[in-house]
C-alpha cells in the first residue's frame, strides 16, 4: 500500500492527468446529463446577465466590421429602394396602359420601345412588333397619354415609328374646345406647333389639341398636346400656337399600335392631286427664272 502511495505521489502529475482525462472523456460522452443541463441553464443565465452589464464596452474591430456591413446593407437597401420605386412606377404605368386599352374603342397592339434612332432632325423609335402581329405601314402609334407618330417601316418582328418630333411630321388636328382645325408640325425643339389657325380663333392656354377627322392617317380624337403659348404669326392672318406634347418621347418605353390602316384609295387620290397641283407651279417657277 505504501508502495502504491509512493508511486502515486512520485508520479502525481501523470496519475492526475490520467484520472482527469478519464473524467473529461466521461463528461464529454455524457454531455446531455440532465443535472448538468439544469446547472448550465442557471450559469448561462448568470453569464448572460454579466454580458449584458458589460455590453457597453465597444469592440473597435467589431465596430469596423459592423460599419462595413451596415454600409453594404445601406447600399443594398438603396438599390432595392430604387428598384422598388422603378417597379412601382412601371406598375402604375402598366395599370394605366391596361386601363386605357380596355376603355379604348380602338383595336390596339401593345409594343415595347427597343430602339431609338435620330438622324439630324428626323426622330424614330423601333418597336418590337411587326407584320407577324398584324402591323402595317402607316398605322398610328400612341400611348395612353396621346399620339406618338406612325409606322413608316417594318419587317416581321419590328416596326420603325416616325415620331411627332420629326421634321416631316404633318398632322391635321383640331382644338377640342373650338373644333378649329390646323396642322401640327414639330418646332425643332421639345414642342409642337399648331399652324393655320386664323387669328380670330384665340385658344386658351391649356386647351387640348386632338387629331382631326380630316386626317388621312390618324383616327379622330387622339390627344396630341395642350396649348402652352399663343402668338400672332407676323405678316399673316394666322396664329402660331405652341403645344406641349402629351407624350414624353424621351422616356417612352411602351406604346400601342392602333390597328387602323389609312384609306389607301384616299391617300393615292390625295397624292396624285398634290402632284398635279405642284407640276404647274414648278413650270411657272422655271418660266419666271
Amino acid at each position: 500500500m505504501q508502495r502504491i502511495l509512493d508511486f502515486v505521489l512520485r508520479f502525481k502529475e501523470y496519475v492526475a492527468t490520467t484520472l482527469l482525462t478519464i473524467i473529461s472523456l466521461v463528461l464529454i460522452s455524457s454531455s446531455s446529463n440532465t443535472q448538468l443541463r439544469s446547472f448550465r441553464t442557471v450559469s448561462v443565465g448568470f453569464v448572460a446577465g454579466v454580458q449584458s452589464a458589460f455590453s457597453w464596452v465597444p469592440n473597435p474591430f467589431a465596430l469596423k466590421s459592423e460599419n462595413r456591413i451596415l454600409r453594404q446593407l445601406s447600399r443594398d437597401l438603396s438599390l432595392q429602394a430604387i428598384q422598388l420605386r422603378d417597379d412601382a412606377l412601371k406598375g402604375e404605368k402598366y395599370r394605366a396602359m391596361l386601363d386605357f386599352r380596355q376603355r379604348s374603342p380602338m383595336k390596339l397592339a401593345t409594343a415595347e420601345v427597343v430602339g431609338r434612332l435620330s438622324i439630324e432632325t428626323r426622330n424614330y423609335v423601333t418597336l418590337n412588333i411587326g407584320e407577324k402581329k398584324g402591323i402595317r405601314e402607316g398605322m398610328p402609334v400612341m400611348t395612353e397619354r396621346g399620339l406618338v407618330g406612325r409606322v413608316v417601316g417594318l419587317n416581321g418582328n419590328y416596326s420603325i415609328v416616325q415620331l411627332l418630333t420629326h421634321r416631316d411630321t404633318r398632322v391635321t388636328a383640331r382644338m377640342l374646345s373650338s373644333r378649329q382645325n390646323g396642322v401640327v408640325v414639330w418646332d425643332g425643339g421639345r414642342n409642337l406647333v399648331l399652324r393655320d389657325v386664323p387669328i380670330g380663333q384665340k385658344p386658351k392656354k391649356g386647351d387640348t389639341v386632338v387629331t382631326s377627322e380630316l386626317s388621312s392617317y390618324f383616327p379622330e380624337g387622339i390627344v396630341i398636346g395642350t396649348v402652352s403659348v399663343v402668338e400672332d404669326e407676323p405678316g399673316t392672318l394666322y396664329s402660331r400656337i405652341t403645344l406641349t406634347p402629351a407624350v414624353d418621347f424621351s422616356t417612352m418605353e411602351e406604346a400601342f399600335v392602333v390597328l387602323h390602316s389609312p384609306d389607301q384609295e384616299r391617300l393615292d387620290l390625295e397624292r396624285k392631286f398634290m402632284e398635279a397641283v405642284d407640276r404647274p407651279t414648278e413650270r411657272q417657277e422655271k418660266r419666271s427664272r
Binding site: 492526475a16 454579466v50 458589460f54
Partner: protein
C-alpha cells in the same frame, strides 16, 4: 506548495478571467479571441508547476464548459493538457522574470495553446459533419496565434518589471 493567500488570489484572477473570456468580443478580430484562460493556466504551470497547472486547467476548463454551453469536459480536457504540457517547462529555481519575462514564455504558450486547440477541435468537430483539419487550420491556428500575441503582453509587462527592478 502555494500559500493560501496566493491560492485565493489566483482563484480571484481565474474567475475574473473567466468572466472576461465570456465577454471577450471587445478584443475579437474576425470572431477570433485570445484564450485568456489557457494563457493563465500556462502561466500557472510555468510559475507554480505542472501539477498546479493541470489542476487549474481542469478546474477552469470545466467551469468554462458549464457557463459557456460548450461540450461538457471538452475545455476541461484541453486546458488540463495545456497545463500539463506547459508544466514540463517549470523550473523550481526560476524567478518570475525568468519564467515569464523572456521569449521562452511565448514559445511555451504557442506550443501549449496549439496542443489545447488540437485536442479541443478534435472533439469539437466530432458530432458534426465538419472535417477536423480544415477547421483546425482555419480557427485553431488563429486562436493559437492570437493567444500567443497576448502572451507577448504578459511577457513584456513582466520583463519591464525586471528592468524597473
Amino acid at each position: 506548495m502555494i500559500s493560501s493567500p496566493v491560492t485565493v488570489w489566483y482563484g480571484i484572477v481565474g474567475l475574473l478571467l473567466l468572466l472576461i473570456q465570456m465577454q471577450a468580443d471587445f478584443i475579437a478580430v474576425e470572431q477570433i479571441t485570445p484564450d485568456l484562460i489557457v494563457l493563465f493556466v500556462i502561466y500557472l504551470a510555468v510559475r507554480e508547476g505542472q501539477f498546479v497547472g493541470l489542476l487549474a486547467g481542469f478546474a477552469m476548463g470545466l467551469l468554462f464548459d458549464l457557463v459557456s454551453s460548450d461540450i461538457n469536459g471538452l475545455n476541461a480536457l484541453a486546458k488540463m493538457l495545456a497545463g500539463f504540457a506547459a508544466g514540463f517547462f517549470y523550473r523550481e529555481e526560476a524567478s518570475l522574470q525568468e519564467a515569464v519575462g523572456t521569449p521562452r514564455f511565448l514559445w511555451i504558450t504557442a506550443g501549449a495553446s496549439l496542443l489545447h486547440n488540437i485536442v479541443y477541435y478534435f472533439f469539437y468537430v466530432r458530432p458534426s459533419q465538419l472535417e477536423f483539419l480544415p477547421f483546425f487550420l482555419r480557427y485553431g491556428l488563429a486562436f493559437t496565434l492570437y493567444t500567443t500575441v497576448f502572451s507577448l503582453v504578459v511577457m513584456l509587462v513582466v520583463a519591464r518589471k525586471r528592468v524597473d527592478a
